[in-house]
Symmetry: D3
Subunit: 238 residues, 6 copies
Amino acid sequence: MRIDQRALDQLREVKITRNYTRYAEGSVLVEFGHTKVLCTASIENSVPRFLKGQGQGWVTAEYGMLPRSTHTRSDREAARGKQSGRTQEIQRLIGRSLRAMVDLKKLGENTITIDCDVIQADGGTRTASITGAAVALIDAMNVLLEKKKIKHDPLKGLVAAVSVGIFKDEALLDLCYEEDSNCQTDLNVVMTQAGEFIEVQGTAEEKPFTRTQCNEMLELAEKGIQELIKKQQDALGW
Amino acid sequence: MRIDQRALDQLREVKITRNYTRYAEGSVLVEFGHTKVLCTASIENSVPRFLKGQGQGWVTAEYGMLPRSTHTRSDREAARGKQSGRTQEIQRLIGRSLRAMVDLKKLGENTITIDCDVIQADGGTRTASITGAAVALIDAMNVLLEKKKIKHDPLKGLVAAVSVGIFKDEALLDLCYEEDSNCQTDLNVVMTQAGEFIEVQGTAEEKPFTRTQCNEMLELAEKGIQELIKKQQDALGW
Amino acid sequence: MRIDQRALDQLREVKITRNYTRYAEGSVLVEFGHTKVLCTASIENSVPRFLKGQGQGWVTAEYGMLPRSTHTRSDREAARGKQSGRTQEIQRLIGRSLRAMVDLKKLGENTITIDCDVIQADGGTRTASITGAAVALIDAMNVLLEKKKIKHDPLKGLVAAVSVGIFKDEALLDLCYEEDSNCQTDLNVVMTQAGEFIEVQGTAEEKPFTRTQCNEMLELAEKGIQELIKKQQDALGW
Amino acid sequence: MRIDQRALDQLREVKITRNYTRYAEGSVLVEFGHTKVLCTASIENSVPRFLKGQGQGWVTAEYGMLPRSTHTRSDREAARGKQSGRTQEIQRLIGRSLRAMVDLKKLGENTITIDCDVIQADGGTRTASITGAAVALIDAMNVLLEKKKIKHDPLKGLVAAVSVGIFKDEALLDLCYEEDSNCQTDLNVVMTQAGEFIEVQGTAEEKPFTRTQCNEMLELAEKGIQELIKKQQDALGW
Amino acid sequence: MRIDQRALDQLREVKITRNYTRYAEGSVLVEFGHTKVLCTASIENSVPRFLKGQGQGWVTAEYGMLPRSTHTRSDREAARGKQSGRTQEIQRLIGRSLRAMVDLKKLGENTITIDCDVIQADGGTRTASITGAAVALIDAMNVLLEKKKIKHDPLKGLVAAVSVGIFKDEALLDLCYEEDSNCQTDLNVVMTQAGEFIEVQGTAEEKPFTRTQCNEMLELAEKGIQELIKKQQDALGW
Amino acid sequence: MRIDQRALDQLREVKITRNYTRYAEGSVLVEFGHTKVLCTASIENSVPRFLKGQGQGWVTAEYGMLPRSTHTRSDREAARGKQSGRTQEIQRLIGRSLRAMVDLKKLGENTITIDCDVIQADGGTRTASITGAAVALIDAMNVLLEKKKIKHDPLKGLVAAVSVGIFKDEALLDLCYEEDSNCQTDLNVVMTQAGEFIEVQGTAEEKPFTRTQCNEMLELAEKGIQELIKKQQDALGW
């Protein structure tokens, strides 16, 4: 039995609220149980220097945790003067995952920046971020289409993410903080709507994992991500 | 007539929601119209080095805007590697204002850090922050009292803040962003429950203001702050 | 009786020495008693990026204290790698105050940077800086006029600043360090030659101040600033 | 046929040279074809603050590329004033991988820092780093044993790493730079001597990968890592 | 004939004014012609960590130029967030030179920090700094003696510095800015009262210099430094 | 007798290995005994902003020590976020010395950056760096000639460097670390093939040096540098 009464292969309650704030072209509050992340998508009519003049766009992400989103307060990264290695790792992961959803040529010379700010953290903030950001990104691309800034929809398909892990030698889906900090192995998986992999990042925290455990975790992740994509589709009214 | 149909001396709709997030000892979402700030209070059982061994506590504040809380996206301060002068100015103002509410001796050797994070910005973020942070601070001090970490309530009284300004030669209460960016003069006022001043910060943006205008603005501020203190009291169930 | 035998409404001895150093377009040493600030004005024939192509100029200020200008040595900001919040607050205040003196359109696409470096600090360094910087700025604008770089004098009028405070419940003009660090309330006021306000920044240090005390302080400030403007005029030979 | 005539499941020529420099407690030059990384292990008789007094040790890693280890020169991170996100990601990966080899309790209150500095980069620098660093770490732990600083060997077993990828829909072992920058998917795998997984990090660069491809890549990695562990054992004279 | 009518072996007018500011334990304004440097010495009753518990003191120096001390304004190092390589080189040179004057054992566990801030720069700021700082340091050590914080005078003897150079193939003493920026070779020399060398730093700017030229420059420097030491002695009333 | 059995005027064994790594236009491993420095030269077809449009090139250098190149590990400068004063001093010295070898006009609008990375440090890393970098620079200039990017050889002649010092009152050539850290005086000398001086940097570490000692050291340096230039010529096959 899990700490929060879930079955081993059960997601936490997932909510995806669009238009959560007023100004961003896409603004989504995503909740995986107590984990809450605000994902906003901002359009800028230009591209980073390394892409200038190539007739394509860019999608990038930034990530941050409010200092007291967590059980004990962490330092504010802006005050400390730099982003931690963990923060950079996560925002690079989110950016790569989102770019896999988009035909950058069709995006034209536009940049969409996704900000994922964690309001409350109970494990799985990076996977919730990707899942919510995918929806915010679609909203922003639709703004470009509606305003006739681009002609063709750059969307290649939905992407969602979930964490899986081995806890007391059993595979669990969608770890909460308590499970995450005590599990043997933690695997974050990003997949497309079509059931293919974008990212697989597994780390043995306490003891190494076997090929069999790897397979069990990947299967759980596939199941969870199909459910998450259904939630995204519902939120989008598809 | 004001841009949003308010009377000259009318506040925007003000909401103060306690226990907005789960982990902080005080957690308040404060809304002044479309301006929304999350104020969390975190207790740490120690004091900064300059206060060590003096048998007193400390209250400090940090402030940040989510990159897309505003009409157009601003750089993330954590990514840029430093807090702007404006941010530092505001967090110093919030800290000073909150310390005026507290008997630091009675706080014992505890530090309470208030994080004010702007979720959505439509003018008046610093005054909303102070007004909401005051409530979060009280919640955190009550946690210390309930857990018997301190014996006597350190609270000296409520503090609230509002902006006033001169727009087309008339004094206005509680400026929204549109008004704020077009006004001649902008005055932020912090006052106590007892009707005395903690901070008065007036800046002529476009043309200097007269002594008469200064008086008009201070009177509007007094009126507005009394209403805000009533809102704080309602939220606290006093 | 004041610590230095002054009357409550009496300024310290004020000296304004022009052409204090050789290379700057304006160079003023301003002394308020033992407080000594070197204010230099430097002309650059360009404007910051955000003003490019708008046919107007810019005036900005930087502020610093020599490490041992104070009673005990403070860290050198250049060595520590960043300017303190206090420094940034002060230089933003000086910049705004000086821009109120100038018609930026008439300044053409020129930037004037005022450096206020505190040689010796005995309270009131920000108000002395503004008072001295105003003169250095005029000298620099006259260089532009003489060299025919601009056609019309951009000067709108003089600006000066003074601190006032409440000490043992009495209002005092132009606080020295000893008074400043023990006063209940500290108010910095910037005014124009015409007797109007540019900035009013009041902070209750120890206990809140009443509306009556606010009025007393503003009146003292008005008196003091008129005297300072007279000193500026004398220094300029007007 | 591969760019460098290797079979799909063939490693590049691997060399592991111990005692490459004089002063470090462990010093290994590891070569995967043209990729050359110098891995040094340094012992310090203390632990980071978060471990003080817990009677255990710590193993950590830092990573850097010489500016011209690559085909075109990159900026020196020390001159730019910060480590890139990529660098931080890699050094965190190396550190986690090496800690999986060590019983930190048996290490006592000692810290071993592994520096992985890339002399020449032709793809796979992170996997070469882990493979070489494992040997340098063992040499350093043996110094502690020989000097009787610790009583029991903290080594739990060898760890090695390799990259695999999908290039033109075929799975390849140990990608060189040319392959790495053109492959569809890149997977870095870290395994123990016992054939279990420590880290699996797969990224779809160009198009998503299927579960079948994932399996193919994991099998190639298992094969390659067994060969690398054999090379480590040879180098160690086991 | 030199630009300012001096003979080849003639110093500029040198003035050393003690007690230039009020608070520092030593405060000297040193002038070499138009070059003006304020040198203050501050005592702290502790030593840097690397000297703790060794029963000796420390002398260190910091150097800065006011942004408009020069012909055109330079960036403020505090605003840019770091000290230039040139600044660090100079402050390391000043620190080493001053430590050569002092028996650090006799200084006890005290640190004396010398701040050299350039008010006006016309070449030779580092040599003027050393020459003035030596006097400020002596004044500070005398404060320690008078207050009975130390028993024995730590002074080993005076130290002074001068620049020499080759300009149009002739050796010149004490270069002004104009000469300095056009000379072939620039040599800074620091010597003791006893006529021995502390530092010799020669740089061929435009063309290499011969052994003969090196000798000519060293002789000029010896002459100049003897005159500077005489100036220091006069200032000290010896 | 010296610590390593050398005569007072004897260099350590010097080796200069060209083409040490594959990608750089010049790549030299220079060894002075146990001191080993990798010097790579990288060509970029542009110049720094301050030289744009002047029809000339630029030569610059960067320097770094691998963290465990030394007897005990030093912090990684990239991790600490800044280069030390010592590092900056050395890279400025290397850059100036190399520019003395080159006719920058003939180099065209190209920049050659020399990276000197210390693999193993046993004293004299800056002089070894200059000696090796000179060869790497020539190799890079020859690449420009061969590829017909420039028409005329920019080389003015070879440059090499050596350290000399006074140890127990005797002058020594080419100090190893042990000698360097115990000597009274340390002098680094850079000379041209023609026997003229580029840089002379002498520092009294423990006690001042006399004019006679200065002369002895300069003579030893001249002898050593002639031998080093011979080694460079051999390496270049001249």
